[in-house]
Assembly symmetry: C3
Homo-oligomer: 151 residues x 3
């Protein structure tokens, strides 16, 4: 049995980043004033914009790009592989898909975010599963997440 | 980049509390015989009653008051900000709301609990999202959680 | 207050197991080439088959038996007690129920798996809650999870 410890490696830091350990963060670019709570994993090829906050227990997978001043709640899980190409996980990362959160997006705790795009200023209620692009600024909730109210 | 380690500080302990580390617990009041599993975060201004058990991966936010002999499953996430006042998270904690679990409440794993009140003896099924006060003792499940059976 | 640290004890390891710490794993049998991500808890009386991958933040409870080459996503929570016998958690482990995943099963991230059986090759979408046996090989999703497509 081999083991490794969680680590913070190959990370490009902006100014005034604050992290609560333990965390496992590698190959990510973190903007100015980013906050990262405990028990967070952030994989490589990810970007967190200036002023965004990543709360405890959240998992950010490869190919996630989070804009400025976003709020990612507790226990949020991002997904880059919809399992639809291989009827299961693809080992070939060329089959994975991107997730883009524009600026000022808020994701409620315990939500699951498939590889989609969420437009600026939108709000996702806690416990939601977001499976489609969100193109209209609004409040969305449910499994699958649906528009509750335009804002 | 600054980092802090997870910690257990400013906690008022009852008798015979047991905690599995790593945990991040601050400013909470834990009653007698409380058990807290690994990878748990509990924020300030919270109370866990005598005999209650908080399982692994759970997040308890500010303003949560858990009664006696409650069972909080694994990966349960509490929420104090419904995002409805600012169309996103409120930095002003005066806009956050309380969550109250009376005695003998059981919360199934991976559930999400909005700032509501749950009456004594009620049971929430695993994977539920509880968005409204629960005033009738029963078993509730789903997203949003609905009454399955009175008990 | 007593505390313990997370640990890896009483585990039977196959060849080439890789674990990212911190983890809390006890009394489990891990097959060859098993991978376990960070912030994972695996309880006793569990078995993970050769080649299976358990991603970060996942909780595997007692009485879970996972086959070969399964993929368990991030933040997946297994449950062995349906709360239906005592209208809440049973302290008597004789009342807990088994969960069996056959070979090549894929569980999407943030899913909740009740004590059921999932047949070989089936795929569970992210954020699902699986409450019944899955006997037909297919893709399932939702809360509760329903058949989306046979495969």
């Amino acid at each position: 049995m081999r083991y490794e410890n969680s680590k913070i490696v190959n990370v490009k830091f902006g100014k005034n980043v604050k992290i609560i350990k333990p965390c496992n963060i590698y190959g990510s670019k973190l903007g100015d004033n980013v906050f990262i709570g405990p028990f967070v994993e952030i994989q490589k090829n990810t970007k967190i914009g200036n002023g965004s906050r990543i709360q405890s227990h959240t998992f950010i997978c490869e190919l996630v790009d989070i804009g400025k001043n976003c709020f990612i709640g507790h226990g949020v899980v991002f997904v880059n592989d919809k399992f639809n190409k291989k009827n299961g996980p693809s080992k070939d990362s060329n089959l994975w898909e991107k997730c883009l959160l524009e600026d000022n997006v808020s994701i409620g705790s315990n939500s699951t975010i498939l590889p989609i795009k969420i437009c600026s200023g939108s709000v996702i209620g806690a416990g939601s599963v977001v499976v489609k692009d969100i193109k209209v600024k609004g409040i969305y909730a449910g499994n699958p997440a649906k528009l509750i109210k335009k804002i």
